[in-house]
Amino acid sequence: GGTTKDSAQQGADPKASAAAPASADPNAPIKEGLKIAFLPKQINNPYETIVDKAGIEAAKEYKGEAKEVGPSDASASSQVSYINTLIQQRQDAILIAANDANAVCGPLKQAMSKGIKIVAYDSDAAKDCRNLFINQADSEEIGRSQVKMLADMIDSKGEIAILSATANATNQNAWIDFMKDELTKPEYKDMKLVKVAYGDDDDQKSFQETQGLLQAYPDLKGIISPTTVGISAAARYISGSKYKGKITLTGLGTPNQMREFVKDGTVQQFALWNPKDLGYLASYSAAALASGQITGAEGEKFTAGKLGEYTIGKDGEVILGAPFVFKADNIDEFDF
């Protein structure tokens, strides 16, 4: 209970008075000792761990106390329990990678009503339930660029497929929508998306789905796997099968996972933003919010430490930057 109660509590809470100040003070200093919590989709997900660790490091720079808490299953319901806990602990800001944009909304609103700043990162929550969304890259940009990248490698010709995470994965679904849209452009008239498969971010399942795709569509030319688990499982399968060299795989992956397959030629290139930068930026934006530098309104600016200045875009979105493309000649420069 108590997830969308916006009555009653407001007056009782001392911090409530500080909630939602009418205007931002861009020159306000970052407060010391801010209590900040990262709530990833799932603890133990290596990608999320990299992001959150970088965020926690960043908090040390501005003398905040940051921590990472979260469920071991990627479910919204567990995240909701954690939000409740974080409210009870009176954190100054909660950073969340939402498993379900709507399901976490009620409790997030309640947190906001108590003066807690909410920053969504990696995966957005519904717009009115958070102050800011730190987007790793513009969703549209990710979706379209993946198609472009694959098209370059297969000369914009042939059947392609997508190997996604779970059917309900918010990010992947958003990107896939843009990919489909991109494919309607005339330059891709010879490329045909034959199937979206779901590997559920599970090695074995992604493996089997890849096999199935290759058997079911013998003329398949390319696969886009916009998920780190999916792309590494697919790469591993292809590298050990007769399809190696015949099929082009790309998508989103971490360099450490993919290094072997880039080196052995299974994969030519794939993309990802720098997850450390994502955590770093999210951490600073939370601090800026909690210190009153910004309120989350469009056009406000803040400085994110070493990353420099960022401007808040439409709907409270801050975009980290363009995704980075990893290839054989640059992959060894990265370790994450």
Partner: protein, 351 residues
Amino acid sequence: MAPDVTAAKPAEGVSVPAGTGRGSLGRFLRWDVLVGMLLVLVFAGGSAGSPGFASIDNLSFALGDLGEIALIALAMTMLVVAAEVDLSVASVLGLSSALVGSLWDAGWAIESIIPLVIVVGAGCGLVNGLLVTRLGLPSLAVTIGTLALYRGLAYVVLGDRAIAEFPQQYVDLAVNDVPGTPVPYPVMLFILLAAVTGVVLHATGFGRSLFAIGAQEEAAQFAGIRVKRIKLTLFVLSGAIAAFAGVVYTLRYGSARADNGVGLELAVIAAVLLGGVDFDGGRGTLGGVIAGVLLIGLLRNLLMLNDVSTEIQSIVTGLLLIISVITPRLVAAVGRRRIPAPASSPPPPES
């Protein structure tokens, strides 16, 4: 009409002094009572040691968070007492959630969605029940199958869509407290249902039948108990309650998705087992189960408040389960040792 056979040694059996030490000790140290005591301990410790734990807000939230598990646990308790199990409950919950979403999306009124969904849930239960009673298949196997089937149907219904924006007055019903209490409406409903279930299970003929079926099915059948019909009823009930829990879940989170409640079945079963219900059937109390549900929920809440990581929470839950079955044996062993007769051997198989 019964003949007079009371002549010889009439009082022999009755005159044996009742209530040796073991009985009362054993009764007191039953596991369900221990769970209750543990619960009180957690509560007391939490209130004293963790600011925020005993706040109305937090308790209300923690209770509400247990709502679905608690509801499903009611039906599951009766099933397990009757030596059956329903692993498909979480999938029925998911299917129900998906249906609520897609029907709402299609413009149906919530008032007509809810009964329909409950009927579908009952239908799911009926399928389980028919496979178990008509074909004589073990329910563990059947419901592993329907666990996949019903979850699959949820995806068929809703695919990758997520439906939100349910009418506020229903969301409020799923979320808000009964005025003047820290008890959310679904939990209040649970309390009422639990009272009914408790009476049914422990004080009515139906309840007696369940225990008899669980302990010795054939004997129950020979005593004129309609074993199959009762089991079928239980499965239907379990399906209907799971579907209703799906409605509550959907409204509480304001989000209908095909993957809602994945894995919830193990949480329910863990709570039922922690409450001291014997998985082999024929033994257990509803009070124990309720204490078990609350213990798991409040303990997790307390651990979370103290920033204990989810890994440790998992380990604590597991250990609790193990302790829940080990302790009664230890108590029994100690109890036996205290009695003049040190019985060294296992309970004999016969007379």
